[in-house]
Subunit: 196 residues, 2 copies
Amino acid sequence: VGQISPWKVLDAKYLYQDQWLQLRSETVLLPNGKKLAPFHTIECANWVIAIAINHEGKIILVEQYRHGVKHITLELPGGTFTDDTEVPEAAVKRELLEETGYASSDWHYLGSSFLAAARMTTRIYAYLAIDARKIADPTPDDGEIIVNREIPWTEFLTGMRSGRVTLHETNHLAGLFQLQLFAAKASDPRIRELLI
Amino acid sequence: VGQISPWKVLDAKYLYQDQWLQLRSETVLLPNGKKLAPFHTIECANWVIAIAINHEGKIILVEQYRHGVKHITLELPGGTFTDDTEVPEAAVKRELLEETGYASSDWHYLGSSFLAAARMTTRIYAYLAIDARKIADPTPDDGEIIVNREIPWTEFLTGMRSGRVTLHETNHLAGLFQLQLFAAKASDPRIRELLI
């Protein structure tokens, strides 16, 4: 077993670039002296996700067709943002409002994680909004066809347990785990009741 | 709001291909009549992850440097596999054995999810192994420098709650949520005690 320490980059170039992603190709030197070439990393934007509970105790979800997996998915509201121009907390409020028309004045940061640490740069930031209120009509991005769904929290959880409700995205399930950790130490009864 | 239904692919080509990924570029027609071009999808392998609890009630973890995020990460054992040659259940047993030397005869399927449904094909399959036993030395892949860590389950959970322990990968947090759903309906006390 070698030592766990950063790799040394001997050479780097971009094989492909567009507005969504950059594909970086490197020659790297590992701490054990082994050279890897090429090693590829996908550079792309970070994401925010919102677990939004409205004033009636319903979770606000979105349903849409996702072409990457050719499947209609049930999802948390959220999306990508550009670190240079927006902080995650502003991005998650914007995405919730755009996709669902909901806003909240009671936001809680749940944590962040790496989507695929080995080969992607993407970091996911998860937030909880409680007592959310509908203040506008959704204004989806060009090309987004989104249907809003509202499910009472308990029905949502029991549905996920039985398989009647499926949340398809890995990072949304991760956000729900971060919520469980957060709710287990919360004192607010509206947050504690979000525990499984 | 248009109808949620699959997009029609008018034209497709590959911009980039290597042994890890293919970048597909398409012209697509949405149900609302809008044309998107180019729409890019990253085609890459599926993954398995193992939440492995040994016979002493400790979770088996791996620590390694991840160049995508340039960070040392604490992770569940797991890895990619090729659908053509391996089923997920065989892949997760192989990965656990390779990375940690552990095996178990008591495996439970926790569920699957999409890593990034909009633009990637990757699906993650999560499994629980209980009463795992160390039967061999780890045999990491070429280039993998991995340190095994074993943490008593309760210490792991309370550490995650307080921030003393960080599991870095989104898909590993998702697996832990799938485990919570599974444990909430389990009758085996060894599984029920994995609840937060």
